[in-house]
Symmetry: C2
Subunit: 190 residues, 2 copies
Amino acid sequence: MEIDRRRNIVEAAEKSFSLFGYKATTMDQIAKLANVGKGTIYTFFKNKEELLQFIMEELIKEMKTAAEETYDKNISFHKFVHRAIYKMLEYRMEHQLAIKLFEEGKFGTPEVVEALKYFEDAIVNYISHIIQEAINKGFIHPCDPKITAYIILKMYVALIFDWEKNNPSLSKEEIADLMNLYIFKGLAVS
Amino acid sequence: MEIDRRRNIVEAAEKSFSLFGYKATTMDQIAKLANVGKGTIYTFFKNKEELLQFIMEELIKEMKTAAEETYDKNISFHKFVHRAIYKMLEYRMEHQLAIKLFEEGKFGTPEVVEALKYFEDAIVNYISHIIQEAINKGFIHPCDPKITAYIILKMYVALIFDWEKNNPSLSKEEIADLMNLYIFKGLAVS
DNA sequence: CAATGACCGAAATACCAAAATGGTCATTAA
DNA sequence: TTAATGACCATTTTGGTATTTCGGTCATTG
């Protein structure tokens, strides 16, 4: 069977990026790992950055399908939103690549910052889409879907990533309850 | 009249910190600005870090009184919360020192990171206090005041600082409406 | 005796040679 | 003929070091 060089390259790059980060991964290294001459990489990808972007797009697609698999007609709308978003963030946390890049991004490599912005945008757009549908169906109050999606994401990140830096971390259920309280029910006593 | 060296030092430091940041401010510079020998600074403050902390404490106190001044028995509870928090963030945004340190903190100087954590804690505690009172009075649903305060702060920061990095910035009123929708009313259609 | 600035060790910075890296392209192997 | 390759090049990064700067001290001073 003919070997799929392109696939090998992508997988080698993914492995190396997630293990050592973007900056610390060299093209020679990727070529070695992929059992391929370095020049070959450039027949498939214009440069290192494009290779990263391709991998990010793959990752985003995987996340979306993962989220969509949680869809279930029998659960309430907000449960779905919660599950889907949680699944996506879980992905982000568990996936080596995402973690490494997330750390690297805080620091400063421009390509990585760019890639992460792209990543965040993809998530926000996806959530935004769900919100819009929910509004159309009259499940939730009308609101700007984009901002709402953004806020929901930030809130999750705050609860999952930031809060546990200085406090005992919250369980999946606690986070679900909190999101439900803050975003869906609201604090106000009717 | 006898000159107040201590006051001069604090003001010089504050000015220099907010103009050039903590790291880029030298003790010599402060001494010059304060018309004081360098050694004199050390008769009032143990070191540079303590000087920063003193200034931060002053800033926090100022912010609290500024927030408290917005209290008005005739406005609704959530209006008060909003006004108070907004005032505090406005302070943070407008005050040169806070901005400079905020930028510097993202980067990494340990003392600045520490000081900002202290700053954030102070805000969260203050909000937390207000929340607790509101719960006691039955204005809002029972909830963990600390987490709630934390979330509210994060949400504001997301709306004021982060959102406008990639989107048209929101007006005071828009932010007020959004906070009201997300936190108080909730998205759910009753 | 409060105030000071010359002084000190440590830490940051500037500098530069050597090594590494991203990307190209003439050569090779199929 | 064409896809694959790795030696090669220009540029960037690194590692080590000489130099400067800075936070903090303390003997001297007014």
